[in-house]
Amino acid sequence: MRLLPREIDRLLVFQAAELARRRRSRGLLLNQAEAMALISDETLEAARDGLVFAAVEQAGYTVLGPEDVLPEVAAIVTRIELEPLFGDGPRLVVLHEPIMRSAPPSLEGAAVEPTWIADGVALVLTNRAEVPVAITSHFHLFEVNRDVELDRSAAWGMRLALPAGAKLVLEPGASATARAMPIAGLRVVRGHGPLVDGALDAPGARDAALARARDQGYRGA
């Protein structure tokens, strides 16, 4: 057979799943390892049966329900990553809470209003670029993309009042009123963009940076 390591891996899943299948056939509720193995094996086999990606993914959510497993288990099995072998090769399928859910969760979240962590200062931002612009929590707003129109002087030393990792996404032509708060710490900005490289509160720093911004065509400078 000249099996490759990844095929040996497949057999490990099968062996664990087969143990789970036997235990299930004796009427036992499955534990964490057993449940994960059985879901994995059945999902991998769905691809072997020739199902398309979405159908294989869906199959992963129909193997086990909460009634099939020990009381703690449905909540523990939060995520299973698998690479079924499809006609066009191995493809990554990620199952999210496959015991609790009966179908994959939608990745298209409803529009979520930003959660502002401080009232701060209200700033209006308008994206005049032809591409979307996403602005993250700790970025120095003064240096945001030159085609975003905002009062750059008011944005000096400010960041969005968003939780870390959240983004304000402005589609081309879109406007938003954002809450901004002062950058904390020693208030030294380096590496955000080409305009600022030093202490925000140094005498003349803002005016010099505004002049550079105007020279370089930053809107609202």
């Binding site: 700790h138 870390a164 990792g165 590496g191």
Partner: protein
Amino acid sequence: MPDDDLVRLADSSLLIDPGPDEQGHDEIAAGWGGTMRDGLAVRAERGGVEIAITGAIVIDPMLGIRRCAIGITDGRIVAIGKAGNPDTMDGVEVVLDTATAVFDARGWIATPGGIDTHVHLLSPQVVDAALAGGITSLVIQDFGPVWNLGSNPPEAMAATWGSFEAHPVNVALLVRGSSARPGPVERALAAGGAGLKIHEDVGAGVPQIRCALDVAERHDVQLAIHTDGLNESAGLADTLAAIDGRTIHAFHIEGAGGGHAPNVFELAGRSHVLTSSTTPTVPYGVSTVAEHRAMVAAVHVLEPGRRHGDSAILNHRVRRATMAAEPVLHDLGVIHMMSSDSQGMGRIGEITSRTFQCASAMREERGGEGGRHDNERVLRYLAKLTINPAIAHGMARHVGSLELGKLADVVFWRPDMFAVRPELVLKAGLPVWGASGSGNASTAMTEPVSVQRQVAAYGTAPGRVSLAFLAGSALAADLPITRPRARVEGCRGLTAADMVRNTRTGVVRVDAVRDVVTLDGEVVAAEPVSRVAFSGTYLLG
């Protein structure tokens, strides 16, 4: 159901309150659009730590339970608190720069690597099992399937040390202290030892105890003892007289692992006797007595029913009452440490799970300790497998907690699989063990995901991330090792008061006639548990 801010440890009855997130709104968010970019939470000038652990719930016997970051440089913990860029954030303790590697531990618990002071290295497979159970320091007393009970002779010790070039664990070797004269003991110690072991199977009488303690005092090392279960030349009182108030570490204090029958447990509760349990009797389960009758005979080469006397000594050693008392004395902090007794009756991969199984069973039987969480109980039990064994064996300057200056041996757990399956084990801040999947896959976590060796467990890395603990007389020994050497120290004069979160003393009595154990006159006994936490909900079995 617990309050939203409390975290349940796996399927146990234990709830922890992780406290406020010390990052506040300055979370270190990894990934696309996260904060871990130059100028945001990291800065382009040096001054940062080399490695940072961010986002974890830290459970540490010295630091307590905190949601904080840990900074690591040169393998040691150098900063604890909020992580980030002091240029743009307030209150930063763990400075991140553009060369800092970050372990994003959000959603994980971080504990110090465990320390097993009772390792029979009867086969090298125990090391993998230990790492998979969150144990990163081994105090070893054998090198293979030989009757040794102490790592002797020098040639074998050197080979043992050499083999650990392939294993990313800190190591200390105990040499045989069962010797009525100090010559062989001191020679073995100087050849690469870090402490002494007395075992009744090679002699645990008064001359051996006196001699070994004299050696221990001269070299500032610990003596671990398995006392004379036959009471052949000495009973408990004689052993105590030979110890003469000096510090000693009494193994498997309950007694089924061996020692004065039926009353070795009476060594517990005394100030100068540091005590540990071993995995087979903890927690006390409905099968414990039955298992021990088979186990003691198998391990100690008995032939009950065929050889005269073997049935009798087996009956003396396997006692329901002392087994039932053991979890309660752990809960009260009378017993200081947990250990495995690997392959000499114990299971090295289960030290962590069994310690917390005991904690969970005691939570259920004896109730909470006030308040809505079990932080103090969790920390008390964690101390038994981390800081207390480190203190007892003179290793606490380097391991046993996540305090500043210590080696960054850290175990990460998902809360819902705490003490069962570690997500990642760091040695000196580098990944040596943990969960990963099929090598060909497009993600690191594609099934089958196994808990297995990681990068710093291969090649020459184990020697870079591990310490050799040695007695002062062995620091310059000719050993085939590349790992840094650390002197064991501060072993003598220790008392129960030095045992973190487990300082209770008292008079323990084993009443063989009434078949009970008492502490200060009160009967102590737990009900046997029929289903333990941290086990069948998860494991294939």
